[in-house]
Assembly symmetry: C2
Homo-oligomer: 298 residues x 2
């Protein structure tokens, strides 16, 4: 089996379209696809495939029929910012934007939890990246239900029905987006607890990276097992063919980036887009105009 076939098969195994049998424990964060690639070779390969992503983005932008929503979730230091920087730096900024969903502010809290999500949903022809997303509302609030008291909610909160309602609302939102022509891809950057420890230590050792820390991040590490459980639930409840989760082995950054870009490229290729052809009367006009430009005095 050649490397590409092997990689595509690995991609399939990370792709969750039905959560019923999903078990996060089956996913090894250390997996590197067994491609026999070194970190340097992986980085070189990424550079090559980024060119393909740019071509596909051009077609997406030109056709104005579809859009792409990329959701990035993961524990602190899992590589969300790095993925955006290294994977998406090749695309045309005119067609892409990033929305970071931090703790909701006062105006956001006056609306339903999906309000700010809808506002940021992609226009046709565009790629939008969510750095954290609607899933925070079934992850951080699930681990810390006392945060719900800041939301203006009626009815019983933090009951099993409450969480089922949120999962259902999220599924419906994504189904709607998919029906409108949005490709929804949800990436969980899966690192091990030990890998997080090493990355946090490395960050603490580099003075220029200390700004990325807040004491809150370090406290969240104490809730590691609760977060794993919350991810397990969120993924199994919301993985659907129209909005798959891709569980990305992320202990090796170079491999995680290849998996993310691979999944995006594959989804865009499935659209089988071509450069749009102008209507015959427009083509005729363009030909005539070309003739006119050619006959102008230089």
């Amino acid at each position: 089996m050649n490397k590409l076939a092997k990689f595509l098969r690995a991609l399939d195994s990370y792709h969750i379209t039905n959560g019923d049998k999903f078990d996060l424990k089956d996913h090894n964060p250390d997996d590197d696809g067994d491609l026999g690639l070194t970190k340097a070779e992986g980085a070189k390969l990424l550079k090559t495939v980024k060119k393909r992503l740019l071509e596909l983005q051009d077609l997406l932008y030109a056709n104005q029929t579809h859009s792409v929503l990329i959701i990035l979730q993961g524990m602190d230091a899992a590589g969300k910012d790095g993925t955006i920087k290294h994977v998406m730096s090749g695309v045309n900024p005119q067609g892409v934007s990033v929305s970071s969903f931090k703790q909701p502010g006062p105006t956001e809290l006056l609306h339903g939890f999906l309000w700010r999500i809808h506002l940021a949903a992609p226009q046709v022809g565009r790629i939008v990246i969510f750095n954290r997303s609607q899933y925070e509302d079934v992850l951080v609030t699930r681990v810390h239900p006392d945060l719900l008291q800041h939301e203006h909610l009626s009815g019983e909160i933090n009951s099993p029905e409450f969480w089922q309602g949120r999962y259902s609302d999220i599924r419906h939102l994504e189904h709607y987006l998919a029906r409108q022509g949005t490709i929804v891809l949800k990436f969980f950057l899966n690192i091990s607890r030990e890998e997080q420890r090493e990355r946090l230590l490395a960050r603490l050792d580099i003075p220029d990276k200390r700004w990325k820390f807040s004491p809150a991040d370090l406290r969240e590490r104490e809730y590691w097992d609760d977060y794993q459980k919350a991810y397990q639930n969120a993924i199994s409840e919301t993985a659907r063919p129209y909005a798959p989760w891709i569980v990305v082995p992320s202990n090796h950054k170079w491999y995680a980036r290849l998996v993310v870009i691979g999944a995006i490229i594959r989804a865009l290729q499935n659209l089988q887009q071509q450069a749009p052809k102008p209507a015959p009367e427009v083509a005729k006009f363009l030909d005539d105009y070309r003739t006119r430009l050619l006959s102008e005095h230089p």
Copy 2:
């Protein structure tokens, strides 16, 4: 049976929470509830009940747990603008706003059909009125499917699955809003074809009302039967306990207004809201502060 009991029973019969057996033909636009009220008596009664609406709105605003979304739909001259003016003029403008959904503009068309709807959804504590709504996307575009070509849509359009998808997206949106504590009330102002004729004629006779006309309105009258069918479908597909349709007999304006305000009042009363009580420590502070104010030199 006294008049109030009779009126409440009539209200029940207009309230559609399950569309399976809904037939628009069972609803008589000429119905005036058989209350034996004259137009003048109806107008006087409206004035009285508006006071109750204001009280309930104050509680809604103070409690910050729920919100109200009022959707007004109906044929041209059915009384949408008049209902807003006469029913909602009693409430505090700080807690209410009206969004009119006309033909979508270029930016709106770049997003999914529910994008502008979500943006306008009510904050907690508020009443929002939609003058036309998401339902235009299964009414006017259903009657004139060629309008869909202006939307950037992928996949097969105007197929039965396409419309089922839209109904489903609308139901899900409303279910989400309801779960967030929004009371969703959808009013169809039901007039007869003959009543529309008379109202249009009356408008044409009054020079000051001629501005309300566009030739397009008059053309839409030609599609009366198609619109009735589209309303029949929309109501039967989207009437749910969490987002009922109220089919308002609207040939008599005074009666239509009583029905609309009656349904809103009843929904708000069901919340059984009381003025929020301050926490004991806040109450203590307020008492102390009062003492301080009293002891100030005048």
